[in-house]
């Protein structure tokens, strides 16, 4: 014990028996991180912080919330009007869900641009996709809880997706509902699961970080770190950078919370659920819009699945396409077999990357519009392009794209003065990492 690396005797005593301090030292302080990470690398830790915010505000909300069809809506209104700072906690939770998706979408598109999903980080990436799926489930369940019109009809439309499954579909829907429509049993179980899933997310996040620390962070150039010259310790360099990013994020976030808390929501959700009146225009929360557009792009008039028409209804095709739009992300590490990671050295991929982003925005707009011409045709085209990107363009680029030469090390572009504005700052090599 006397030779412990910890000076504080209590810390040393504990660490000898339960090596939490060694663990923290290893994962946070010694953990070598590429020295060229840019601000796109802030969004992972930001997502983690939002997860904590969601859990804290969520547990507080559930101290005041009542999961019963007759009481839920009023209990949320009571949180808003009577509970001390209830309005703040609920608005943070509500806008926190949106912020979570913004941050995670940016995090994912960072990965797409810099090829973060490539070997040896395939499992890291796939765990990320699992987190996205769990987040979507959690947010959907949470949106049902305030029991407004959009809560109820969103729940009805989404649970009905499962009725598209041949033969057992209706049985599954009854099982999900615990009745013959979305009703009190449904609300109760949705509350239970909405409480549970975030903790499952925490578990998957831990695995995500274990996988990350196995090979370390990637970097904007996409070549491996080769010497201690290429890395700096995570703490204090990136802890301080992440904290700065958090500060900027919180300014935006609380701008929404305080000045436009309902900007991203739908006013109909302040009308209590009425099972006998469907709102004229059902829209999901903004973060589901692109997926909703893919779902709706399969209309009865689309004949492409004619050979399967005995089994494949337009409804089932839409549901399958919606799930497939996320499943393509799962297999992306194998669809994209170009050896070059970063789009900086892939001139053609870079252009298709931006087209994909535009395509996703178009899908999002279509998802918010009523299902009528011309929007149905636009979303059909955008859906087709989405799959074309992942299933055809990406694999072909692996064969045909002529990539730019890679630098030999992370330090090289900086030392040679290729690093733009940061030349002067980076000109002096790190003595020791």
């Amino acid at each position: 014990m006397s030779d412990s690396k910890f000076k504080n005797p209590i810390v040393a005593w504990i660490d000898y028996r339960l090596p939490v301090f060694t663990f923290m030292e290893h994962e946070l302080h010694e953990y070598p991180t590429p020295k060229n990470l840019n601000y796109w690398w802030n969004f992972g830790s930001l997502a983690g912080i939002i997860l904590v915010i969601m859990i804290v505000t969520g547990i507080i909300l559930s101290m005041h919330y009542t999961p019963h069809t007759a009481l839920a809506f009023d209990s949320v209104e009571r949180i808003m009007r009577d509970v001390n700072y209830g309005w703040l906690i609920r608005y943070v939770h509500m806008n926190g869900a949106s912020a979570f998706f913004i941050v995670v979408f940016i995090h994912i598109f960072r990965g797409l641009y810099f090829g973060s999903y490539k070997s040896p980080r395939e499992l890291l990436w796939m765990l990320g996709v699992v987190i996205l799926l769990l987040m979507m489930a959690t947010a959907f369940l949470g949106y049902v809880l305030p029991w407004g019109q959009m809560s109820f009809w969103g729940a009805t439309v989404i649970t009905n997706l499962f009725s598209a499954i041949p033969i057992v579909g209706d049985t599954i829907v009854t099982l999900l509902w615990g009745g013959f429509s979305v009703d009190n049993p449904t609300l109760n179980r949705f509350f239970s699961l909405h409480f549970l899933l975030p903790f499952v997310i925490v578990g998957v996040v831990v695995l995500h970080i274990v996988a990350l620390h196995q090979h370390g962070s990637g970097n904007p150039i996409g070549i491996d770190t080769k010497s201690p010259q290429d890395t700096i310790p995570f703490h204090p360099y990136y802890t301080i950078k992440d904290l700065f990013g958090l500060g900027v994020f919180l300014i935006f976030f609380f701008g929404f919370v305080f000045f436009a808390p309902n900007y991203l929501g739908h006013p109909d959700n302040y009308i209590e659920a009425n099972p006998l009146v469907t709102p004229p225009h059902i829209v999901p929360e903004w973060y589901f819009l692109p997926f909703y557009a893919i779902l709706r792009s399969f209309t009865a008039d689309a004949l492409i699945f004619l050979p399967f028409s005995w089994l494949m209804t337009a409804k089932l095709a839409g549901v399958l396409a919606m799930f497939a739009s996320i499943m393509v992300l799962f297999i992306l590490p194998w669809l994209d077999h170009s050896p070059v990671k970063s789009a900086r050295f892939r001139p053609i991929y870079k252009q298709f990357y931006w087209l994909l982003i535009i395509d996703c925005f178009i899908l999002g707009i279509c998802g918010a519009k009523p299902a009528e011409a011309p929007w149905t045709y636009i979303s059909q085209a955008a859906t087709a392009y989405y799959f074309l990107h992942f299933l055809v363009i990406i694999p072909l680029l692996g064969f045909f794209e002529k990539t730019k030469p890679l630098p030999t090390s992370i330090s090289e572009p900086v030392l040679k003065g290729g690093g733009g504005a940061s030349v002067a700052a980076g000109a002096k090599p790190m003595e020791k990492a």
Partner: protein, 187 residues
């Protein structure tokens, strides 16, 4: 050590015979265990299905007396709306005259009613569960004079059959029985 144990085992049972016996025991135990696990999981899954009180509340009786010819009413059954329509003679004739074999979910009008005058269907769009409009006189009834689902644009006719749009099936006909001329039991 391990290998000598193996050899002793083989010597005792004879290699081939001993292995098949062991395999059988392993398989039998595994199957038994899997069955037990499935039996234990069933209550955990089945608890999600409708509970006894939910099932008990699942029939209603409707008095048809006040409904005028041509009028549509909407009643709540199992948490969802049921459309009851007292159809006029012309409406019945019109619904019967449709060439139904070419419809997306082919069904003759006669198969969808017990008495042609009374159309009783579950008012839940078979696409994704919205409630089609058309029950109130002021509401849009769609291109076929029945109902129109605003969610993704499905048109139903005066027999509740799907005629246009993404819904795959006709509005379902619930189980019902005329207790008398003017009283119907649904469910």
């Amino acid at each position: 050590m391990v290998s000598s144990g193996d050899t002793a085992e083989e010597a005792a049972h004879g290699a081939v015979e001993g292995e098949t016996r062991r395999d059988f025991l392993m398989l039998a135990t595994g199957a038994f265990g899997a069955f037990g696990a499935a039996a234990a999981a069933w209550p955990l899954i089945h608890q999600m299905n409708p509970a006894a009180d939910t099932l008990a509340a699942s029939t209603i009786e409707v008095n048809l007396e006040p409904i005028q010819p041509g009028q549509r009413v909407l009643v709540k059954w199992r948490g969802k709306p049921v459309f009851i329509v007292r159809r006029t003679k012309e409406q019945v004739k019109e619904a019967g005259a449709v060439n139904w074999s070419g419809l997306p979910d082919p069904e003759p009008d006669s198969k969808r009613t017990q008495k042609p005058e009374w159309l009783i269907v579950v008012g839940v769009c078979t696409h994704l569960g919205c409630i089609p409009s058309g029950s109130k006189p002021s509401e849009v009834k769609g291109e076929f004079g029945g109902w129109f689902c605003p969610c993704h644009g499905s048109h139903y006719d005066t027999s509740g059959r799907i005629r246009k749009g993404p819904a795959p099936k006709n509005l379902p006909v619930p189980e019902y029985k005329f207790l008398s001329d003017k009283l119907v039991k649904i469910g």
